[in-house]
Amino acid sequence: MKIPCPLCGARDSREFSYLGHAGLLDRPAPDAGDAAWDDYLHNRDNPAGVTEDLWSHDYGCAAWVVVTRNTATHGILSSRLAKDGAA
């Protein structure tokens, strides 16, 4: 499996660690309420299809990368740096 790092190019997935859905970029405000925080921390759409998730290029440039990926086929559609914000 290859992950396309926006900086380093396609690299073996063993250089990366996986965190979870890219919704983790949208941290709720402290006062956003219990439901918002529960959703952020725990609940997931968990689609059998295209999703966006977060990978860290640990063994490479240490960038956090948002990967648009199909969970049913493992096909990868695109990637971008997490620090560049939403697509």
Binding site: L7, C8, E15, D58, Y59, C61, A62
Partner: protein
């Protein structure tokens, strides 16, 4: 006053040679991580240009000449090699001394790329990874960096504490490549 004497993580282990590959220790030199502050990338590049004669490296780029250079070293960093940062550079970038943080070895010879293929998933075909290129990558399960110095010469870096593992794993690969060469 006490006198501190330096030690080198690889010096006792090297050089080794098997078949058409040689692994040598690299003498310690200045190595500094450089991270430009927000909005200071141009100034940092200019300061670096003065120091090493080359601009800010693009991702995957980095060359050394006369032991000096600036290597792409991560999403936020370049590695300044062979010279300490100037005041100018420090005004525009955070700098961190890493001169002692790395075990640094040079792998060279006709079999060097075959040896590398046994320790890193990086594409090291000549067309994909030639002189002037530098990669942060997995080296034998370690966070490392590889710089292509010449078509058959590579600088390998892993954190200092893992020098022994680096030398061991590369040496085993060199032996294997040499033995395979004999049967081919």
């Amino acid at each position: 006053m006490v006198k501190l004497t330096p030690t080198d993580p690889c010096a006792d282990l090297l050089p080794v040679e098997h078949g058409h590959a040689v692994l040598r220790a690299v003498a310690p030199t200045d190595m500094w991580l450089v991270a430009p502050y927000n909005g200071k990338a141009k100034a940092a590049a200019k300061a670096a240009q003065k120091l090493v004669g080359q601009g800010w490296p693009d991702p995957g780029q980095g060359a050394l000449s006369d032991g000096r250079g600036l290597l792409f070293f991560g999403h936020a960093h370049a590695l300044l090699v062979g010279v300490a940062p100037s005041k100018d550079l420090m005004k525009s970038a955070a700098v961190t001394d890493q001169s002692d943080a790395w075990a640094v070895v040079d792998l060279s010879g006709d079999a060097a790329r075959d040896v590398l293929a046994r320790v890193t998933p990086l594409d090291v075909r000549p067309a994909a990874f030639g002189p002037g290129q530098c990669a942060r990558c997995d080296i034998a399960h370690m966070q490392g960096a590889i710089v292509c110095l010449a078509p058959q010469q590579f600088r390998l870096m892993v954190f200092r504490s893992m020098a022994k593992t680096l030398v061991h794993d590369v040496t085993v690969a060199m032996e294997s490549v040499a033995a395979l060469g004999k049967t081919a």
